[in-house]
């Protein structure tokens, strides 16, 4: 891992178009500002990982599960 020391107001560039700026450091809380192109999504890591896990769990349900759910929806009409 690359380790850099930055002060509040200083930035780091990642590639050509992602800029991460340290806005404020107070105790063990650091506030960051992130500028990135539209096709780069920025998430807190724990949120991204939760979403990744949820998507993997949701992906490609079995035919039985799909049939059961379709049946349930049709029945409720």
């Amino acid at each position: 891992m690359l380790v850099l020391t930055r002060r509040a107001g200083e930035s780091v560039m990642i590639g050509d178009d992602v800029v991460i700026t340290v806005l404020e450091a107070r105790g063990d809380v650091i506030r960051l500002g992130i500028q990135a192109p539209r096709d780069v999504q920025v998430h807190r890591e724990e949120v991204y990982k939760e979403l990744q896990a949820a998507n993997r769990e949701a992906a490609s349900p079995t035919d039985d599960a799909v049939r059961a759910l379709t049946r349930m929806l049709n029945k409720e009409e």
Binding site: R38, D39, V40, Q41, H43, V47, Y48, E50, L51, Q52, A53, A54, N55, R56, E57, A58, A59, S60, P61, A65, V66, A68, L69, T70, M72, L73, N74, E76, E77
Partner: protein, 145 residues
Amino acid sequence: MSTRTAYRPIEDTMTDSALDLPVLDLAVPMPGFPAHRQFVLVRLNDDGLLYAFTSIEDRSLRFLVAPPEPFFPDYAPEIENDVLAALNTKDPDRLLVMVVITAGVNETTANLLAPIIVDRDSQRAIQVVLTGSGMPVRAVMNRSY
């Protein structure tokens, strides 16, 4: 600035036959599936309560998605302007909100934190994270619709 998704009568989304057909380009891949960028919505239920968001690159990859209104009537996610920009949205009324469903053995849940937003005009889609909304990733689907 953000745009609140207007309540849209469910028949409106259901009778839109175009919904089934066009290939939708993901503005950003779904977390966990970086290689899949093009999907189609395949209708699984006659009344349009359930669709399969299916990868055209790999037909075996599909997500069950549903319009949230019948199941979560109070759910009206706010769509930020950067999402509208990523979708090339000109008319926010043409957006569809779909929630990703996990069909489990014992319970079926819907991901209310990260819905898929589809622009029917630009035919682009994105899974957005409603940061700060406190919405659950696994909301049990209400059977009383």
